[in-house]
Amino acid sequence: MATTRIDMRIDETVKAAAEKAAALEGMKSLTDYIVQLIEKDAQRVIKAHGMLVLKDDVFDRFIQACDAANTPNKKLREARAFAKRKGIR
């Protein structure tokens, strides 16, 4: 795997705590510890942002509403006509 560098400044006390934690976790180096933390957390964050989980009944109502699909209301049709008149693409 290709690698790249991250340069970062870190508070001395945070670094000391991280070194201790890395040792306790049996990590070979502080770098190894930070890398595995980032890997784990990045996956969590990406997953949390990429998905919206709904309660069962809310999800089912959402799907039903999407299938039933109301026609666009008057205000929305007027907004479209307004945008067309203004000629902004």
Binding site: D56, D60, I63, A69, K86
Partner: protein, 172 residues
Amino acid sequence: MIPSSEFVELNKTIHDRSAFDCGTPQLNDFLQQFAAKHRTAGISMTMVLPAKGKEADICAYYTLSHTEISRKTLPKSAAKSLPHYPVPVLLIAQLAVNRAAQGQGLGKITLIRALRHAYAINEHLPSYAVVVDALDEGVRGFYEQFGFELLDTQNLRMRLFLPMKTVIQLFV
């Protein structure tokens, strides 16, 4: 501030993001700090409406991204008519009009532009609905007048949706 006639993709070498002020700090900050980064990371795409005769100035912007909606638990076999999920949706993650350009109906115009964009994407990558984030009740009212319905409220943030089938009917 008079708008030009076309939305273009945000380009940080052309557009002056720091001068944009819509009155909502979160929406200013997103444009200034995250919009370009999110584009590079493949998270979202931001389109801006430059001012007429001064393309650095941004009159309005919107950000689209793709996300998925999932059901908390698997449906029982009786509910077989439900689709496989998660289901894909398009998210209007941000939409804002510069204070200096407000009062000309640009909110409506920007929403229609974002919906048209969603409609175009749907041709290639079908979605169930267009979802929007509403930061407060005022914004919620803005979307509800156009037929958006409340999806859910999470962490004080309201999400509303408009079925893609409704969006299609608007543009065919």
